[in-house]
């Protein structure tokens, strides 16, 4: 469960996130859409506790991020836009390291099971990450989330730069996680991927959540129209 309560972040006079209220339950994928600077990454950074809110609160599994900084991370997994792992370690070693420092000891076969579940080809398990494509690295990132048994997953532009096939595979993985009861928040520019993957969509602009939709209630053209209107791209709307 991911919740925000009037979450606000201000740098000096500039408000980068203004009273954001979100509630993402289990089995939900919430896609945050918005242009650069809309406040998507700030929201994720606040949920991760990387930055402190000016006011309001963020909650993971009912725990306040500011108050239970370490504990909330036990329930949380995060995949950034460019997932950078240790290039000289193999996929198995990266998975074991990131799980291990988080307190979860994996043996080799467990690690391989998670990598397999994340869709990584078997012949890549013991290859160094330096030889991996972005899609393969994202799969290792998913395997870290799977190994952690995280109840909440935060994704920051995870499909940017992925080819359609990899992007589709990634979407399927997210669905699998959602079906296992994980709450997912994904920040993205990709309307198609948001419609295809998400259960809910929110459109942000200038740090504010302007509109929210349930994916099943809106078609892709309607979503596109709503997005362009929200962004004030009048010439494109006409």
């Amino acid at each position: 469960m991911i919740t925000t309560d009037n979450l606000t972040k201000q740098y000096g006079e500039t408000i980068v996130l203004n009273q954001l209220n979100l509630s993402i339950g289990a089995n939900e994928i919430y896609c945050l859409l918005g242009a650069n600077g809309a406040g998507k990454t700030t929201t994720i950074n606040l949920l991760l506790g990387f930055i402190k809110p000016t006011s309001g609160s963020a909650f993971i599994n009912g725990l306040c991020v500011s108050e239970d900084y370490i504990k909330t991370k036990q329930y949380l997994a995060y995949i950034p836009e460019n997932l950078m792992l240790y290039p000289t370690l193999t996929a198995v070693e990266n998975l074991k390291y990131f799980s291990g420092i988080g307190g979860k000891n994996l043996n080799k076969s467990q690690s391989e099971d998670f990598l397999n579940e994340a869709g990584l080809q078997k012949n890549a398990f013991n290859q160094r990450i330096s030889t991996f494509s972005k899609g393969m690295r994202q799969k290792v990132g998913i395997s870290i989330a799977l190994a952690k048994d995280a109840k909440s997953l935060l994704l920051d532009e995870p499909t940017s730069g992925l080819d359609p096939k990899s992007s589709n595979e990634f979407g399927q993985l997210l669905h699998k996680l959602k079906d296992n009861g994980v709450s997912i928040l994904m920040a993205t520019h990709d309307l198609f991927r948001a419609k295809d993957t998400g259960t809910h969509i929110g459109i942000m602009k200038n740090g504010e959540l302007r509109q929210e939709y349930a994916t099943k209630d809106i078609s892709l053209p309607e979503l596109e129209q709503a997005y362009l209107e929200a962004m004030n791209y009048k010439e494109l709307v006409s």
Partner: protein, 474 residues
């Protein structure tokens, strides 16, 4: 977390080639420095050995001449070098007053290229002009040649800086920090573990390499010495890792970290010792040695003019010499030694001022040495090696004492106008260098360790209380 950091940090270091580079670099530097230091010690030993061999040869020659003289034979030698004269023995057959090398002298060789580690005080020579130039600048004494002390004090911090300046910033710059920080860990603790592991590996490698060079390259080293060098090195390494830890947590990107750490190296290794040296010279300037020698010369000239009067006064003070020589046959050296004694007494205040200023400088440096662990480390290594300022100062005093003993031993023969015979030879005094008792440097090493731990703790607490987001999101 510690187990995983430990295991994977080692893997990362091995696969990136860092461990191999570090090992080879340390091995190369330590081996070269040890061989270099050992060569200097061997040269020092050889110089002393040659000087002693020269004395032995000269003594054999002297005994042969004495034997001929005592058997009433003619000898073909200059009149003033014939060894039946006590002044000829005192001046042309002096003993070697050598500062023997200590078992760990190769660690810090001092400025042995300037200082020969032996002198030959003569009967009529001036004690003040014995060549002890090395101890004129006490801080200069701290920095020697390319020996182990140089590698430990100067180069090891640079290697540590290269090894630790970007522990956190590299993760941030490569993009892996956010993934790390999303794990249930404190990033400060993670940095601490990572840097403590690098400290551990640097220490292990250094200790292993030091053991290898002590066992295989250095002649005369011992286990106790190795242990002491490792303790000093540990404290010094810890200090630089503590600084690197704080800089990693407090500063920003990799280039800024590197510049700050190099700046600290300049301050602690170069600037502070130079400033203290300058301060010592400014507050307690050394009297001019040239002026002292000039004063000695003018006093001697004055004394020469009044030599008869000086000799009369001398004999009045030493009636035992007057009584034993009914002929009162007084020559050049009788007058010279009497006037030399007077000159020495006249010069005493100047020499005293020289020594006092030196002591004041030493006291000042001793007081301010805590400003730089580099000074403490160098000083501790010098003390272990027997090449510290205190060692040279003590040696100088031992030589001056011996010069007096040498002169006093031959003076009665001169004033009693008695010849030096082969029976007197075994009684000639010889110089035995007594090194000063090795001071325990564990305490100063422990203090450096405590200070380093303090720096690390303060840095950790300040970072913990500060804005953690600065570490992750910049």
């Amino acid at each position: 977390m510690y187990k995983y950091n430990f295991l994977y940090e080692l893997k990362l270091l091995l696969r990136s080639g860092w461990m191999q580079i570090l090992s080879l670099l340390l091995l190369g530097l330590f081996c070269f420095a040890t061989i270099n230091g050992d060569q200097k010690v061997k040269k020092r030993k050889q110089d002393i050995h040659l000087a002693k061999a020269e004395v032995k040869e000269s003594d054999a020659n002297m005994l042969s001449l004495l034997d001929s003289i005592e058997n009433g034979m003619e000898v073909s030698a200059s009149r003033w070098t014939i060894p039946s004269s006590p002044t000829a023995v005192g001046n042309y057959h002096p003993r070697v007053a050598a500062m023997d090398s200590q078992p760990l002298s190769f660690v810090s060789t001092g400025q042995s290229d300037l200082f020969t580690h032996y002198v030959k005080p003569t009967m009529t020579g001036d004690d003040f002009t014995l060549n002890f130039t090395e101890i004129i600048s006490p801080v200069q004494q701290l920095f020697g040649s390319f020996d182990l002390a140089f590698v430990i004090v100067y180069l090891l911090p640079l290697i540590i800086i290269a090894f630790s300046y970007n522990i956190l910033s590299a993760e941030r710059e490569s993009g892996s920090l956010k993934l790390l920080a999303s794990q249930p860990i404190l990033i400060h603790t993670w940095v601490f573990q990572k840097i403590s592991l690098r400290f551990f590996w640097t220490l292990i490698l250094t200790a292993i390499i030091l053991t290898i060079v002590f066992l295989f390259l250095a002649s005369g080293s011992n286990f106790n010495g190795l242990f002491n060098v490792i303790i000093i090195t540990t404290a010094y390494i810890l200090f630089w890792f503590a600084l690197a830890f704080v800089v990693n947590l407090r500063v920003g990107n990799s280039s800024k970290n590197a510049i700050v750490l190099l700046g600290l190296w300049v301050v602690f290794v170069l600037l502070v010792p130079s400033v203290i040296n300058q301060l010592g010279n400014t507050l307690y300037p050394m009297p001019s040695r040239t002026l002292m020698i000039n004063k000695m010369r003018s006093l001697k000239e004055e004394a020469i003019e009044k030599q008869d009067e000086i000799l009369d006064n001398f004999l009045r003070d030493h009636p035992e010499y007057a009584i034993n020589d009914p002929n009162q046959n007084r020559k050049f050296y009788h007058r010279y030694l009497a006037s030399q004694k007077l000159v020495k007494e006249e010069l005493e205040p100047v020499a005293l001022e020289f020594e006092q200023q030196l002591e004041r400088q030493q006291a000042l440096i001793s007081k301010f040495r805590w400003l730089s662990p580099s000074i403490i480390a160098q000083e501790s290594l010098n003390m272990l090696s027997g090449t510290s300022t205190a060692d040279y100062e003590d040696y100088r005093k031992q030589v001056i004492r011996f010069a007096e003993i040498w002169r006093d031993h031959l003076t009665p023969l001169l004033y009693n106008n008695e010849p030096f015979t082969s029976n007197d030879y075994p009684e000639l005094p010889s110089f035995n260098y007594q090194p000063i008792k090795l001071q325990n440097n564990i305490v100063s090493s422990l203090i450096i360790m405590m200070v380093s731990i303090g720096i690390g703790c303060i840095g950790y607490i300040v970072a913990l209380r500060g804005n953690a987001s600065k570490l992750i999101v910049s």
